[in-house]
């Protein structure tokens, strides 16, 4: 168990969660897919300028390329000639392909490992240490991710109000003097920066899960923006810790493990969350169905109070098209609950039943 590796994973997850929430809310999740692929071109172009693999310019170039990607996609969408998802699906493969072609043709020998960019290598981050005054103080990646995390946190805290308004009501934002465009591109810049910095740890493809997963999970049970971000961060931490431990125990790759755990956690909450998890909903439905069917039956009787014959005990089920036994079960239930009574073979609604129906009516409209 290596604390620095764990911390890198946790910081990465936290940074990703913060920006991820806004991406998900604004239906820009696939933008992360696009950005995380096109940054390769940014790295390549920056490298062509400085010829130094360790230059921070590479990170800058990659980040800017990410922002350019967003800009290009939106440019195409604004021209109204195609939909947003289609524009995304064209722009990022193009930029990525250009990067790959340049690498193949010009930089075969350079150790610009596409794999490393796409898949990351958390385990190796310890080998690239930050050296201050001759002592190794920890992996560079650790400090980079910490820096990104602080940056994202600051952005979130300082611009919380603006982010909130811009995310939910861009028009209102403009009226209030907040430029949605600036906030938008600032956010995209951070998304890009986070993605690029995270390559070390988890690589391009898995950063997507880190950004989107915890946000999706949190949104299953909370609507409040602040609460969503907070929960997303916590879930992000959870996912990375569990993923890391899992990877340690089963001796598998850490990044893939974290991504998998992210999905699993989401599915668990999706199915089992007491508020609206799928399984709970099914369970609650079947219980409520009883009450509901009873209500439907009562409603029918209530409505047809003044038409004598059609409330024959043995006739009503045909009218509402229910199976006879099924119908009998509810009749008995209704009698038991004193909502109806049988009077010379006719069903009659009681006062108790009438009160129930009328309270239902005034509530449901």
């Amino acid at each position: 168990m290596n604390i620095s590796i764990l911390l890198i994973a946790v910081f990465t997850a936290m940074s990703a969660s913060i920006v991820g929430v806004f991406l998900v809310l604004r239906k820009m999740s696939m933008m992360t897919d696009a950005i995380s692929h096109t940054v390769l071109l940014g790295i390549v172009l920056a490298y062509m300028l400085v010829h130094d693999l360790n230059s921070p310019l590479l990170i800058l170039g990659a980040t800017i390329m990410g922002v350019i990607t967003v800009y290009l996609i939106e440019l195409i969408v604004k021209s109204k000639r195609t939909s947003e998802d289609a524009a995304t699906g064209v722009v990022f493969p193009l930029l990525f392909s250009i990067a790959v072609i340049i690498i193949s043709l010009r930089f075969r020998d350079v150790h610009l490992d596409v794999d490393a960019v796409l898949l990351g290598n958390l385990e190796f981050t310890v080998f690239d240490q930050l050296v201050i005054f001759g002592t190794e103080v920890g992996p560079k990646a650790l400090y980079i991710m910490l820096g990104v995390l602080i940056l994202n946190l600051l952005f979130f805290i300082i611009f919380y109000k603006e982010l909130k308004i811009v995310s939910f009501d861009a028009a209102l934002a403009m009226v209030l003097g907040i430029s949605p465009v600036i906030i938008h591109y600032a956010l995209m810049f951070l998304v890009s920066l986070t993605a690029v910095s995270a390559f070390n740890a988890v690589g391009a493809i898995l950063v997507i899960a880190l950004m989107v997963g915890p946000a999706m999970t949190a949104l299953l049970y909370t609507k409040n923006l602040f609460s969503t971000v907070l929960n997303a961060i916590i879930i992000g931490i959870l996912n990375s810790v569990v993923g890391y431990l899992f990877a340690l125990y089963f001796d598998v790759v850490i990044s893939g493990s974290i991504a998998t755990v992210t999905l699993v956690v989401f599915l668990l909450v999706f199915l089992f969350n007491p508020k609206n998890g799928v399984l709970f909903t099914i369970y609650r439905r079947s219980r409520q169905k009883n009450e509901f069917k009873l209500l439907v039956l009562l409603m029918h009787i209530y409505n047809h109070q003044d038409g004598g014959e059609i409330l024959l005990v043995d006739g009503v089920y045909k009218a509402i098209d229910w199976n006879y036994n099924y119908y009998r079960k509810y009749i008995n239930l209704a009698i038991e609950k004193e909502y109806i009574e049988i009077d010379s073979n006719l069903l009659k609604i009681t006062n108790k039943g009438t009160t129930l129906i009328e309270s239902m009516l005034s509530r449901s409209v």
Binding site: R81, T88, F96, S97, S104, L119, A209, M216
Partner: protein, 349 residues
């Protein structure tokens, strides 16, 4: 065998294969894009990784059929989760796509590194998965791809009008008596099939371009679904072929990226220069239109004011061209003049 074919055997095989894939992806992509499921191909292609590796783990075989089956099962599982998520409208569908894409791929990455104990072999495997493995296609692979592609195309043609209405106006489609459920299952199955046969050749990253780019380009050029589809298929076919040929001529150049660049160039040309719709064409037409309006603004004004020309710098010029005539000391629009104005601003409604 003629020596030409023998010498270039590999290239010809690869070209044939990528051509067919380009064709079938282009055609299906039109429908997927219209159905707003453009990026599903991207998500599904990433999601096939675990299935492929698991298939290998269980069968220890690298035969195309086995791996394809694994890929298909994995893709179906992903699709299933996606449909589940879609039904809960609270969760955004695109977020689901992104998560599935990434997590399934991550899981696949775990499996792959379990299988290949040495780092470089695993890396090579992943590399091939990501970028495609066109270079190692065999004639049997082509035959397989060809048969499947034909079947898919056949189904699309057969169910043409059904898919068209199904996507255009789903409620109306159902009201005519068609089953939404069955149609959806057939459609999704086609997607899974096409994605799985394409993965090995073009790789994961480029899957979405192969499906979407031809459709985007075709849409700029045609207003009928039939032509859209034919064009998209054509673009895919041509890009596939030329991509394969070009990349074979240059050492160390993978096929996939070249195909994508060619495709996207076509898209760019279509976006800019499509007759009427193209950005540049529209710009030029608009400019000409503006110039015309400015040049003949007096005529236009006259048209709107019962034909009486109020004043103009170029009376003689207008007279010469027959747009106006003199009547009792004033100038009026002629029929020719009327037609001229209408050609600029459209007919009076």
């Amino acid at each position: 065998m003629p020596s030409f074919i023998a010498d270039n055997y590999t290239i010809i095989i690869i070209t044939l294969g990528t051509m067919l894939l380009g064709l079938v992806n282009g055609v299906l992509g039109v429908f997927m894009t219209l159905k707003k499921q453009a990026l599903v191909g991207d998500a599904l292609s990433h999601a096939t990784l675990p299935g492929v590796v698991l298939a290998f783990i269980f069968t220890q075989s690298k035969s195309m059929i086995v791996l394809l089956l694994g890929a298909a099962i994995s893709a179906v599982a992903a699709m299933f989760i996606l449909e589940l998520i879609k039904r809960q409208s609270k969760i955004k569908y695109d977020a689901g796509l992104a998560l599935i894409l990434s997590a399934f791929f991550g899981f696949g990455q775990i499996l792959l590194l379990v299988v290949q104990t040495s780092g470089s072999a695993a890396s090579a495997g992943l590399n091939n998965f990501i970028f495609g493995q066109a270079a190692t296609m065999l004639i049997s692979d082509i035959e397989f791809i060809a048969i499947i592609s034909l079947v898919v195309l056949f189904v699309i043609i057969l169910l043409w009008k059904e898919f068209k209405l199904f996507i255009f106006n789903n409620e109306f489609y159902q009201s005519l008596g068609y089953s939404n459920r069955i149609t959806t299952i057939i459609f999704n199955t086609l997607i899974v099939i096409v994605v799985t046969i394409s993965i090995r050749t073009v790789g994961v990253i480029l899957m979405s371009a192969l499906l979407i780019a031809p459709a985007v380009a075709a849409r700029q050029l045609s207003k009928k679904l039939v032509y859209n589809t034919l064009l998209a298929g054509l673009f895919g076919l041509v890009s596939g072929a030329s991509g394969a040929i070009i990349s074979s001529q240059v050492t160390n150049l993978a096929t996939g990226p070249v195909i994508v660049v060619i495709l996207c160039t076509i898209v760019l040309i279509a976006l800019l220069f499509a007759p009427k719709r193209g950005v540049i064409n529209k710009f030029i037409i608009d400019k000409i239109h503006q110039i015309q309006i400015r040049k003949y603004h007096n005529l236009i004004h006259a048209y709107q004011e019962n034909g009486l020309l109020e004043s103009s710098e170029d009376i003689s010029g207008l007279l010469e061209k027959g747009y106006i005539e003199e009547k009792s000391n004033s100038y009026y629009l002629t029929d020719v003049g009327n037609k001229k104005v209408e050609s600029i601003i459209g007919e009076r409604k």
